[in-house]
Amino acid sequence: MKYQSQKVAYWFFALSMLLLFLQLVYGFIMGFAHAGFDGLHEFIPFNTAKAVHTNLLVVWLLSGFMGAAYYIIPEEAQHELVSVKLAYVQLISLALVGVTAIVGYHFNYWEGRKFLEIPRPLDYLVVVNVLLFMGLIIMTLIKGKRKTTTALVLTMGLLFAALLYLPGMIDFDSQVMDSFFRWWVVHLWVEGVWELIMGGILSFLLIKLTGVDREVIEKWLYVIVGLTFLSGILGTGHHYYYIGVNKIWLIVGGIFSALEPLAFLAMALFAVNMYRKGEKKHPNKIALYWTLGSAIVSFIGAGLLGFAHTLPQTNLYTHGTLVTAMHGHLAFWGAYAMIVFAIISYALPNLTGRKFYDSPNGRLAF
């Protein structure tokens, strides 16, 4: 750890892992309900468990991404974070908004829109929270000694993620319009700007772990995020096949979403090649496992399993079924959960001074 202010990341990672644990608990509640054991129905009906499960996913990943940014940006910009105090204010307010939303879901306090269940007053607080976070990151970058591609791609991903939250706050009388713009948030997050965040973290980790020249890694980072947007933006169309909008999306969505696995394939090839090319053997093997694992599993979960049902002719029969949930689970696991584990595995020994680089427990967890 080169800068004291990077320590803020520790608490974001801690919050992230706590929320992951809670997410798993609610996942089990849903799994048991599916299997016919719905004993908690009076207190936690399925729709509550589902809202909590999916929203906890979003918040723990965001908390992980924010921790990653607070760790990576000072090191990349070669400058202390502009305000550690405000970063802690941001952490506490994020936790408070998240907990309030989750408690509210148990008392019918929600918007009832898949993935975006957070009630409107709390939406405004989320916006304020994210503005504070972005302010701290951007100010640190501006005051920093250098502006690297890795830092810019990561910041761009975080900034676009913040901006794309806004279309989800527009009120519509039509369910079709509601659904259309809900995907601007959900799809363009998950299959767009979050991949920029993932790419930024992946690039930082590969530079640190493999010792390959930054210029080489960052050049390929541009190619990968270029492929992501080239396919992912128009790939939004695969959500528009059967929700009551024009048939043009069957063609556009079909072609471009079929190209989406290319970005993930490029990411997997990129990570493995950089590892092979690298001459430096960093002792933190666990971080390396999660980093390479993330690039490979995201190709399987997001790329291959997504491709399996993305063509309109297939999607006609899988739309509205658990096939979507199956793909969603491995995609999120590979692309986002594993990259958060990778950055935590890399950062924690540096933050705590405990060099658990290659413990049996770490290998077992992997």
Binding site: G112, T236, Y241
Partner: protein
């Protein structure tokens, strides 16, 4: 060999072009001439029904137009399949509704609220879903 500058241009240029096409297609497909959802038939009752749908997070269990929780039946064509009376009875029931083992808590809606929900489902049921309306979902086994 590709330079970093060229890679940057590929990223920024590709993003700008696809984003502009995306905006263009959005404007086109949401234009009045392309409307497939009978927007002019959205009455005050349909809007109230949509608010009830959202405030009770029905999507957390059910799906509509294929989107939702994958736990309880798909409701796009529910009025056609079950009829208004059945739907109203389920929504107004003072006790939990559990016809096939899976339980829906008692929403105890008033007759007016249930009418609004029916209006919402009726409007949804008339949307042209590019063929999905004939499939609806494997849960809707009796769909035509």
């Amino acid at each position: 060999m590709l330079s970093k500058k060229q890679a940057q241009i590929f990223f920024l240029g590709g993003t700008a072009v696809t984003f502009l096409i995306f905006i263009g297609l959005t404007v086109f497909s949401l234009s009045k001439a392309q409307d497939q959802s009978n927007t002019d038939k959205i009455t005050a009752a349909v809007v109230r029904g949509k608010h009830l749908w959202e405030s009770n997070n029905c999507m957390g269990c059910h799906t509509i137009m294929g989107e939702g929780g994958y736990y309880a039946p798909e409701l796009t064509k529910v009025i056609e399949r079950r009829g208004e009376g059945y739907v109203k009875a389920a929504l107004m029931s003072p006790v939990a509704w559990e016809p096939n083992g899976r339980k829906m808590g008692p929403y105890k809606m008033t007759s007016e609220q249930a009418d609004d929900m029916v209006a919402f489902f009726n409007w949804i049921g008339e949307i042209d879903l590019n063929g999905f309306e004939t499939v609806v979902s494997p849960l809707a086994k009796d769909a035509k």
